[in-house]
């Protein structure tokens, strides 16, 4: 089966996020004064072959540790996992 898996990779809370600061200030300049803080991270959408959700989740967790996140400054979490098709693409 083919699964669509969402992964969010974000800077650890203690880590400085220059992008977030600029976006926040940009939004303030546009008049969105209620914006307190912005953090900018990555959103990955993966299409993977697998047998079931559990095994796919395990696979993606391994991918996060090995490649998708920079373990030094980033955390990652798996979002939705959806079945795309029952037959390989």
């Amino acid at each position: 089966m083919t699964f669509a898996v969402e992964v969010v990779v974000a800077l650890k809370p203690v880590v400085n996020d220059p992008q977030g600061l600029v976006v926040r200030d940009g939004l303030h300049r546009l008049g969105f004064s209620g914006v307190r803080a912005v953090r900018v991270g990555k959103h990955l959408e993966l299409e993977i072959e697998g047998d079931d959700e559990t095994s796919v989740r395990a696979l993606v967790e391994a991918m996060c540790e090995q490649l998708l996140r920079n373990t030094v400054i980033e955390d990652s979490r798996i979002g939705s996992i959806r079945v795309l098709s029952d037959t390989p693409l």
């Binding site: 400085n16 200030d25 030094v72 400054i73």
Partner: protein, 740 residues
């Protein structure tokens, strides 16, 4: 003092702040009391090797730092030399090895940010950056990861802030497998009248903290860089700093607007040990004291302790000392650049270092104890006996033809084209780069004058591994040679000393010898040392790096139009070798790839001949006699000629028969073609110039030997090499490209 006193610090306490028991005892004696926790942490940071130079200071004192051009020697954020037209060239090199080993991109990026601040803190507009990088073997996945990350990080910061990276150097060697080296050099220009110092004065004057908010970045960074990386390094990872080149660009423009402004009494960037290190240095240089109120510093995070605020190494921050009456108008300048600033400290009359958290006094230390009080460290043991250098002859593992050897060398990571690196760097912003990377030194013109600066970094650690003193001398000479090849006369150097754990006698004595070597070479060539940096404890898991002396050289050419480049130019030009002929292979790249060893004495160096050769080349270029000049470095004559062909996109036909007539050429053809004898240049010139060049060579008494001529689309050495330039180029350009 409301803060807790320590009833004697535990070993655990001391380990946390990287102080030895002996240092702690010395501290208590000098204070006449126990420090509290905050004081202990602050002392730990400022007494770290990184900030205190407790090991290297006694040795650095022997370096020649004076000269007619010197406006500022070691002791300020960077050195400065007079380059004429009332201008000063401000420059320095600095290491960011440990952070880059933990996170290559951010480690390298913040290294660039740090050295840039050292330059514009002095009021100088950064004109150019150079780097000096060392990694383990490139065919290993992790090394490729470090290499890519570091190169991206240097470009990421320099490109964004708009300072060109015009040169540098790169080596791969087993010795760096667990300790990569990332050194960055910055060169700036300022009208001498606007040169700004980091020397506080005037009790009652206020200190502005400008730029980034303070967060929990790099807490312990200074002591971190002063201890050996170990398994626990991973645990200290939250210390990793993320740079903000955009913020630094604004900070730089604002500071440059204020350079030489009478309202600015002193400017100091925040580097090692953050607010703590910078405020202490600032006051100590001025012979006054300082009182910091941590509650006034804007935070990026909530709940930070005074300790965290004082030691935070958040990037892109600057201190400005000014009269209270001038503070508001200065803050307006920063606001124009959307920069936040807080008054965080006041200058005191007595030389005390006081920290308040609002009304609460949390630290009160004598400044001299804090800044100068660290017990200096001498030799950890007597000079270890070094086995006489291995004889490098007759250990040939491979028997390649010279042609095979040429192509293998050109295609090796240490000799291959650097284009895959520097094309990721903006080399041109500023409209000043007259000679781009790829040849010898870069040449950058000085706006509003006809002058140019020749810039190079060099430091072959294979030689230093065999003989630290000789290696250091050669590093100075090679850097000078690269600058000379452009027609610029060496003016001053900066240096970065990258060594393993100095608590080992071998390492300490190598450091000692290397500094001696730098001093001797600089005295002989009459080039003062105006700045530098020391990085010790590059010693993960007991495998230390080879002694790595990186020299940053700045030379001056009065008219850039008279410059010389390294590529062959015209068909029919003659090619000649300036300098000695030998066949020594000790420490050579040929030996590395052919024999898989680094053995024998490093190349012989006749420093007086070196000096004469520089004289000859500079005069020949000034007289307009040369069409190209390229120094012989790694890979020897053969590689030098091949490079001049590639750079000029034209072939050459040479013969070495004349060279082979020499005495005692133990390594024969290979030694002559690929040996790395010093003090040599390959030059090309129009036939008509031959006579005058002969006279000139005789006058400077430097050896001059005809080699052949420029032309065609092949590189050939009679009887041993005949390859098409296209093949040479393919191999050379592929050396750093990842093979799938």
């Amino acid at each position: 003092m409301t803060s807790v006193q320590l009833a004697g610090a535990s070993d655990q306490d001391l380990a946390e702040v990287a102080l030895t028991r002996a240092e702690y005892v010395h501290l208590v004696e000098s204070l006449g009391r126990e420090p509290n926790r905050l004081e202990l942490g602050i002392v730990g940071a400022l007494w770290s090797e990184h900030c205190s130079y407790k090991t290297s200071k006694p040795l650095l004192g022997t370096l020649p730092t004076k000269g007619p051009r010197v406006l500022q020697g070691p002791g300020e954020n960077a050195g400065a030399v007079d380059i004429g037209d009332g201008l000063a060239c401000v420059f320095k090199i600095e290491s960011h090895n440990h952070p880059s080993a933990i996170e290559p991109y951010q480690g390298a990026a913040t290294g660039v940010g740090g050295i840039l601040r050292d330059i514009f803190t002095m009021g100088a507009r950064p004109l150019a950056l150079l780097d000096s990088l060392r990694f383990g073997p490139l065919d290993e996945l992790h090394q490729r990861h470090l290499f890519d990350g570091v190169v991206a990080g240097i470009g990421g910061y320099g490109n964004c802030i708009g300072v060109p990276t015009v040169g540098g150097e790169l080596y791969f060697d087993e010795s760096y497998r667990t300790n990569c080296l990332v050194n960055a050099m910055c060169v700036g220009i300022v009208e001498q009248g606007r040169l700004t110092r980091a020397t506080a004065s005037g009790p009652g004057n206020l200190v502005l903290l400008v730029g980034a908010d303070t967060g929990r970045d790099g807490i312990h960074g200074a002591s971190f860089a002063s201890v050996v990386l170990d398994a626990g390094s991973a645990a200290r990872r939250p210390a990793v700093q993320v740079g903000n080149p955009f913020l630094e660009k604004c900070l730089m423009e604002a500071c440059l607007e204020l350079a030489g402004d009478p309202r600015v009494i002193a400017m100091q960037d925040l580097g090692a040990a953050g607010l703590c290190g910078s405020t202490a240095e600032l006051a100590h240089r001025g012979g006054c004291g300082i009182e910091v109120d941590v509650s006034r510093a804007s935070r990026r995070e909530t709940g930070m302790t005074p300790y965290e605020v004082m030691l935070s190494e958040s990037q892109e921050r600057m201190l400005i000392v000014a009269k209270p009456s001038d503070v508001p108008s200065l803050q307006e300048v920063f606001e124009r650049w959307d920069l936040h600033s807080d008054v965080v400290a006041v200058i005191l009359a007595e030389e005390r270092f006081v920290v308040r958290d609002g009304a609460d006094h949390v630290c009160d230390l004598p400044l001299d104890v804090l800044v100068d009080g660290a017990p200096l460290r001498g030799a950890p043991g007597s000079r270890p006996h070094r086995a006489a250098p291995l004889d490098a002859t007759n250990r040939r593992r491979r028997s390649w033809t010279s042609e095979e050897a040429l192509l293998r060398l050109l295609g090796s990571p240490n000799l291959g084209s650097r284009a895959p690196v520097y094309r990721r760097y903006d080399q041109q912003v500023g409209d000043a780069t007259v000679i781009l990377p790829g040849g010898d030194a870069a040449l950058v013109r000085v706006e509003g004058t006809s002058r140019g600066l020749g810039l190079a970094t060099d430091g072959n650690s294979r030689y230093a591994a065999l003989d630290a003193r000789q290696g250091a001398m050669i590093a100075v000479c090679e850097a000078a040679r690269n600058v000379v090849a452009t027609g610029a006369k060496p003016a001053a150097v900066t240096n970065c000393l990258n060594f393993a754990n100095p608590e080992h006698a071998v390492v300490w004595w190598d450091l000692h010898d290397a500094i001696e070597g730098i001093g001797d070479a600089c005295r002989a060539l009459d080039i003062p040392v105006v700045s530098g940096n020391v990085s010790l404890y590059n010693d993960t898991g007991g495998t230390g790096i080879d002694p790595t002396v990186v020299i940053g050289m700045v030379g001056v050419i009065d008219d850039v139009k008279g410059r010389c480049t390294a590529g062959f130019r015209d068909v029919g030009d003659s090619v000649a070798l300036i300098g000695p002929v030998d066949s020594e292979l000790g420490g050579s790249e040929y030996q590395r790839i052919a024999d898989g060893v680094n053995a024998g004495p490093p190349p012989h160096l006749d420093i007086d001949l070196e000096r004469r050769v520089h004289g000859f080349i500079l005069e020949a270029i000034a007289a307009g006699l040369l069409h190209s000049a390229h120094d012989c470095a790694e890979g020897g004559i053969a590689i030098a000629i091949a490079e001049s062909c590639l750079l000029g996109d034209i072939g050459a036909r040479v013969t070495i028969d004349e060279l082979e007539q020499g005495e005692g050429l133990i390594n024969g053809e290979a030694g002559i073609l690929f040996g790395e004898s010093q003090s040599r240049f390959v030059i090309s010139f129009a036939r008509e110039a031959l006579v005058r060049l002969h006279e000139l060579a005789a006058r400077h008494s430097v050896p001059f030997r005809g080699l052949g001529s420029v032309g065609g689309e092949r590189f050939s050495v009679t009887g041993c090499i005949d390859v098409s330039l296209a093949d040479v180029r393919r191999v050379h350009e592929g050396a750093l490209i990842e093979r799938e």
